[in-house]
């Protein structure tokens, strides 16, 4: 049981990280990244390829390329790959398409990824997926299963904390304010001088890297990864977590990820077995869908809503009349020759 609980804990941490990545895009900037799970998948595949070693013809699984690098290089590679994918997809989708098109095309791109990997067995072992992906330090540490899981949980939590700090800084900064402005009103953000396309591209890259890291952490823990694990309803699971927790609030999103990813999607395995597994799956997704509808209706801002920001710094200046003589420079008349 300890063993299972630890496993769920790691899944929850992974879920939290992935949702944070999506939150930067969807929660803060309003980019409806319907390909969110694709980024997780790319991270997972990248980490796999960077830890599996060269493919051998004799092996029971095929993949186009591979190497074996020590931790944390596979994770970093995953982050880079996620960022690169964000750049690619962003350039394709965000620069030239209207918001509503963007969502549709992202959905298409995500599904295309699933099809592509499934179609070509030589690429990433097709629909069977990759297996036997080595876990970092597993052979060096002689701790037994539970001890190793504790270690891995620690590793993921530390990574999550680093990511949290990065995202918190973005969230609290003037940049975070620009992101929220883009979310609220793209045209107005443009009209006051912000390059909306570049801003969205940036969050696709950063958020994509974060989501890919989640995939890397997950894959080196479970040791296997297949296309069936990243179809588009999984993206919905991520959105659900962000909405339930509270868009734009990192703590809220973490709570949402815990509730949705942990309790709803993983935790149901803990329930006593009733009926056949198909029914459990169906009931799981249906209750998740109902949960989302209830939240959107009764509490669209989520469990922990976005913080309303107040400004204490900067004392108000002395109250002036509307027209203090010479208080304001005249514009455009070459009077700046100070």
């Amino acid at each position: 049981m300890d063993y299972y609980l630890l496993t769920v804990c790691i899944y929850v941490v992974v879920g939290i990280i992935a949702c944070w990545g999506l939150n930067l895009q969807f929660g803060e900037t309003g980019v409806l990244n319907f390909a969110a799970v694709l980024f997780v998948a790319v991270g997972a595949y990248t980490a796999s390829l960077f830890s599996l070693g060269h493919p051998t013809p004799a092996s029971y699984q095929q993949y186009f390329w591979g190497t074996s690098l020590p931790w944390p290089l596979p994770w970093l590679a995953a982050g880079v790959a996620g960022g690169a994918l964000g750049l690619l997809v962003g350039l394709l989708v965000l620069r030239r398409l209207r918001g509503d098109y963007q969502a549709m095309v992202l959905l298409v791109v995500s599904t295309m990824g699933t099809y592509l990997v499934s179609a070509d067995p030589g690429l990433l072992n097709g629909s069977i997926g990759l297996a036997s992906i080595p876990a970092p330090f597993k052979s060096e540490l002689h701790t037994g299963q539970v001890g190793y899981e504790l270690f891995y949980l620690g590793l993921s939590v530390v990574t999550a904390l680093i990511i949290f700090e990065v995202l918190r800084r973005i969230n609290a900064s003037p940049l975070g304010r620009v992101l929220r402005a883009v979310r609220e009103n793209e045209q107005a953000a443009e009209a006051v001088g912000h390059n909306v396309a570049a801003t969205k591209l940036m969050v696709m890259v950063v958020g994509g890297a974060v989501a890919a890291l989640a995939g890397a952490i997950e894959v080196q823990f479970i040791g296997a990864w297949a296309p069936a694990g990243w179809t588009y309803p999984e993206t919905f699971g991520l959105f659900a977590a962000v909405i339930v927790g509270g868009r734009g609030n990192l703590g809220g999103v973490a709570v949402g990820a815990f509730l949705v990813q942990g309790l709803f999607l993983e935790g149901t395995v803990l329930l006593p077995n009733f009926g056949n597994p198909d029914v459990i799956g169906a009931v799981q997704w249906m209750s998740l869908a109902t949960l989302i509808l209830l939240f959107l209706w009764f509490r669209p801002q989520g469990v922990i809503p976005e913080r309303q920001r107040r400004f204490r710094e900067g004392q108000p200046g002395p109250l002036r009349g509307l027209l203090p003589a010479q208080a304001f420079a005249r514009v455009g008349r070459g009077q700046q020759n100070a």
Binding site: V166, R169, I170, A172, S173, P174, L175, G176, R177, V178, R180, A181, E184, N185, Q187, A188, A189, E190, A191, V192, G193, H194, N195, V196, M202, V206, E306, Q308, R309, R310, F311, E313, G314, Q315, P316, G317, L319, R320, L322, L323, Q326, A327, F328, A329, R330, V331, G332, R333, G334, Q336, N337, A338
Partner: protein
């Protein structure tokens, strides 16, 4: 330059400004041969005018005359079918809106221009150009990197808010304000962007009378401080009080140009208004 200036604080180096900032006789904004077609509709038809720095110009005309479309082209939101928009010596036609804004040409919206779920203060701060911490690296550098710069802007924003009588709304979400107050927030936000010119699309439409008066006063003050204004407005009284000069449009074309007193006596202007709405 006075430290508490709301309006200008132009960042143009002295060496550059004589050529670009517009000498006497050189308009700050010049629109030449502007035409916009939407499919079969000619929304703007060969529009040409110039606006001298420090003047306030009104753009009036019946509904559907193409005023908003003209402003959208000037602001970069709509690409013109043909024609040029020269602002401060740069052709902005077809460039995206943020480029116009970075050159100091800031426009407000006829409807819904505020950031609804940002506080009034945040609405203003968003518009500060090149604020430290707006880039990803600045943000990652942390609060210490940008806090002082932001504090200075918060003080400036408080000045702006007190001028607009919005001080007590500072921390309220913009969506919780009345329509007129939102328009004021938009004007305040435009001021934070250090504009050389403000382009306003019906800032007083749908606003109750006393607040409209208040907006008018605020704009008049800005004009008197030397800010260049281009104003679309249906309330002709306000236009007359605010603007040195008025351009009249109907069905996409410019049909008159002069001061309000002259225009009132011109027959085609009256006909356009009576005929069009």
């Amino acid at each position: 330059m006075p430290e508490n200036s709301v309006v200008s604080q132009q960042q143009v180096p002295a060496a550059v400004s004589p050529a670009s900032a517009g000498q006497d006789g050189e308009p700050l904004l010049r629109v030449a041969g502007l035409t916009v077609r939407f499919g079969g509709v000619v929304a703007v038809d060969d529009l040409s005018f110039g606006i001298m720095p420090g003047t306030a110009v009104g753009l009036i005309g019946p509904n559907g005359a193409g005023k908003s479309t003209a402003l959208k082209v000037i602001g970069g939101e709509v690409k013109p079918t043909s024609g040029a928009v020269l602002f401060d010596g740069v052709n902005l036609a077809g460039r995206p809106p943020h480029v116009a804004a970075r050159h100091g040409l800031i426009r407000t919206f006829q409807l819904g221009g505020e950031f609804a779920r940002l506080s009034v203060m945040e609405n203003l701060l968003v518009a500060v150009p090149r604020l430290r911490g707006q880039s990803i690296w600045g943000a990652l550098a942390g609060r210490r990197w940008w806090a002082a710069a932001q504090d200075a802007e918060v003080r400036r924003a408080r000045d702006v808010l007190s001028r607009l009588d919005l001080t007590d709304k500072c921390d309220a979400y913009a969506r919780d304000l009345s329509g007129g107050q939102r328009k004021l927030v938009e004007i305040g936000r435009a001021l934070m962007a250090r504009p050389k010119m403000l382009v306003l699309d019906e800032p007083m439409a749908g606003v109750n009378r006393s607040l409209a008066r208040h907006i008018e006063e605020a704009l008049k003050a800005l004009r008197d401080e030397g800010l260049t204004l281009l104003l679309v407005e249906h309330e002709l009284g306000s236009v007359e009080r605010l603007c040195d000069r008025v351009i009249v449009m109907a069905e996409g074309r410019q049909i008159a140009d002069g001061d309000m007193g002259q225009l009132r006596s011109r027959e085609e202007v009256l006909r356009a208004y009576l005929g069009g709405g």
